[in-house]
């Protein structure tokens, strides 16, 4: 019996240590934000992009807010893993084009986020210390002439540039027009599988600018988009359809 004690102990320790290694993966999910007009990179000077309505345009400003960026487990009883509650993307600031999760437990997940801010949190001066506070602010206001609520909180997106010619500009601003919540949730079908053999999973969230203006609604840049309730609704529907895609990046 004594002769068997030590071999059994050593074997138990080996098995035990192997088990610990298997459970101890350090995989993270890395998300890059990528912006295209169909397959072209964004141009900020030449009017090289053309939308479904036949308008040539360029992109000079692109800023937007994503919220509730999370991984939803296939196991229904598991809580979602929040990657980031609030993320501001500014095309002119490379540091905003990338986020990384904490270590993710083994499992199978799908990715989800909300474009913009839900009405419950889109409150004026709710984020005074966030970097987007000044540039995305949308003052709350009751039109004294109509009694109608206008804005209040923060823009979801500012997409600006020139169209028709160099000196005519469009401003595609989305947000709580007339106090309505036009934010929407994007769910990707792609399965993100993490197991003991997984290194970091890196994905690109692609925004196709042209798709804001097509499918199912063709939207003209002219004459204006802000404060136009119908166009805000159309942008919301277009955004939910195919503006965003998820693409894996092989390392």
């Amino acid at each position: 019996m004594k002769n068997l004690f030590f071999p059994i102990l050593v074997l138990a320790l080996i098995i035990s240590s192997c088990g610990e290694t298997n459970e101890n993966n350090d995989s993270k999910v890395i998300l890059n934000f990528n912006h295209l007009c169909d397959n072209a990179t964004l141009s900020n000077n030449l009017l090289s992009h053309i939308n479904e309505a036949g308008e040539n345009y360029n992109v000079q400003t692109l800023k937007y807010i994503l919220t509730d960026i999370k991984l939803i487990s296939d196991y229904k009883d598991h809580d979602a893993v929040v990657i980031k509650d609030l993320h501001f993307v500014d095309f002119s600031d490379p540091s905003t084009m990338y986020i990384e999760s904490e270590v993710i437990e083994n499992g199978s997940y799908t990715l989800s986020f909300r474009f913009g801010l839900h009405a419950d949190i889109n409150i004026a001066d709710n984020y005074t210390n966030e970097s987007f506070h000044a540039s995305m602010d949308w003052p709350p206001m009751i039109d004294p002439n109509t009694g109608m609520e206008m804005g209040g909180g923060y823009h979801y997106m500012k997409l600006e540039g020139a169209y028709i010619n160099d000196s005519t500009f469009y401003n595609t601003h989305t947000g709580p027009t007339m106090g309505m919540d036009h934010s929407f949730v994007v769910n990707f079908d792609t399965q993100l599988n993490i197991d003991n053999n997984t290194r970091n999973l890196e994905y690109s969230i692609n925004m196709n600018i042209n798709n804001w203006y097509q499918n199912p609604n063709t939207i003209n840049l002219a004459p204006m988009i802000m404060m136009d309730m119908q166009k805000q609704m159309q942008l919301m529907n277009n955004g939910m359809t195919d503006v965003f895609t998820l693409q894996g990046i092989l390392d």
Binding site: D125, N129, H133, A162, T168
Partner: protein, 367 residues
């Protein structure tokens, strides 16, 4: 004989030096209970109150409604003593080479800490080339100067003292002047616990004072606090300001009435005389972009724009109403170049009335 000559020579030199250098022995430490303000030589006689502890009083900034937390460097917390000292330095011409010009000489409180000239004039009667900025709510700015060349208030305060077209002094000279002033020695000791005044602590004190220049008591603020009502014209101006009709809020938004960003607002076509932000970044996309100023107290800060080209607010409104000029970097927010907002005279007046509702009269007079 030679030895006698040598002795006599040294004696004469020593005697003459002694005559020029009047040495007054005594205690030179301002914190000592027996400090002698006339003493020039520390003779070790200082006696201290054993209860004295360097313990400046924290100066608390109450963040106004809708403002972010103020940006305060960890190595320069606000204290009552530091702010008082900064205020004295701000108003003291001792910082200029000929002791004729203080910070307040160009940043006049009655004009919301700017002046009403297009360009300021330095001690050598040389005119600057940009309009002096109004100093309001500076603690919430992320960069300073029209071209954003400076990132902190401390850094900014270094500049005018040695600028040849402003105070045209040297920091060595300023330090010498301050260190020979017993009142300053005492105040710096109390504010920073230092015995020798250096430029780093001078700019720290000035920055502390500047962070206390807070204006949030305009008619607009009182309306937001539901203390008073705006007039119908001011209310209509508010709607114009915050809607696409006037489209002011995209750059002059939030309770700060500025976005901490840089824009080319269509003042000129190409061939600029001042390249603005480009001078700092070297990025062609930044040509002719300038920092958005706050519109608080704008009624008192004429003339307007980085070069003070507009004498009145009416001219400013007319610039946007007619659409400005095209150049390669003009901001897309200037949506209709050459066309503009097309406000009616009545709407322009309403907008003007709202801008005047941003005036904080207390700010012009408070101590």
């Amino acid at each position: 004989m030679k030895r006698v000559s040598l002795f006599l020579t040294f004696s004469i030199i020593f005697y003459s030096c002694k005559k020029d250098l009047i040495i007054v022995e005594g205690c030179t430490d301002p914190i000592a209970v027996n400090w002698d303000s006339g003493a020039t030589y520390e003779n070790g006689s200082c006696q201290y109150d054993s209860n004295y502890v360097y313990q400046p009083t924290p100066f608390i900034i109450n963040t106004p409604y809708g403002f972010p937390d103020m940006i305060i460097p960890f190595d320069n917390p606000l204290t009552v003593e530091g702010v008082d000292l900064g205020k004295k330095l701000f108003h003291d011409p001792i910082l200029s080479a000929d002791n004729s010009l203080s910070c307040a000489g160009c940043h006049v409180q009655n004009n919301s800490f700017t002046n009403n000239t297009q360009y300021s004039v330095g001690i050598d009667n040389i005119e600057g080339f940009r309009n002096a900025s109004a100093l309001i709510n500076l603690g919430w700015n992320t960069s300073f100067n029209w071209d954003g060349s400076i990132n902190t208030l401390e850094e900014q305060a270094f500049e005018p003292v040695i600028n040849p077209i402003e105070m045209h002094d040297t920091w060595v000279n300023v330090e010498n002047k301050l260190n020979s002033d017993s009142t300053y020695l005492n105040m710096f000791k109390n504010a920073f616990n230092i015995d020798y005044i250096d430029s780093n602590h001078v700019v720290k004190a000035i920055a502390q004072f500047e962070r206390t220049l807070i204006s949030v008591n305009s008619k607009y603020d009182k309306w937001i606090r539901q203390e008073i009502q705006l007039s119908p014209s001011e209310l209509n101006g508010y709607v114009i300001f915050n809607s696409e009709k006037g489209d002011c809020f995209h750059c002059h938004g939030t309770e700060m009435f500025m976005d901490n960003l840089f824009h080319n607002n269509g003042l000129d076509s190409d061939n600029f005389t001042d390249l603005g932000l480009f001078n700092i970044t070297d990025n062609p996309m930044d040509i002719a972009k300038f920092k958005t100023p706050t519109l608080r107290n704008v009624e008192f800060t004429a003339p307007y724009m980085h070069d003070g080209r507009f004498s009145t607010l009416e001219e400013v409104i007319e610039h946007y109403n007619s659409g400005g000029n095209y150049s390669a970097t003009v901001d897309p927010l200037m949506k209709k170049i050459g066309v503009g907002l097309q406000l009616t005279n009545s709407e322009k007046q309403d907008l003007l009335n709202f801008l005047k509702a941003l005036s904080d009269y207390d700010y012009l007079n408070n101590p």
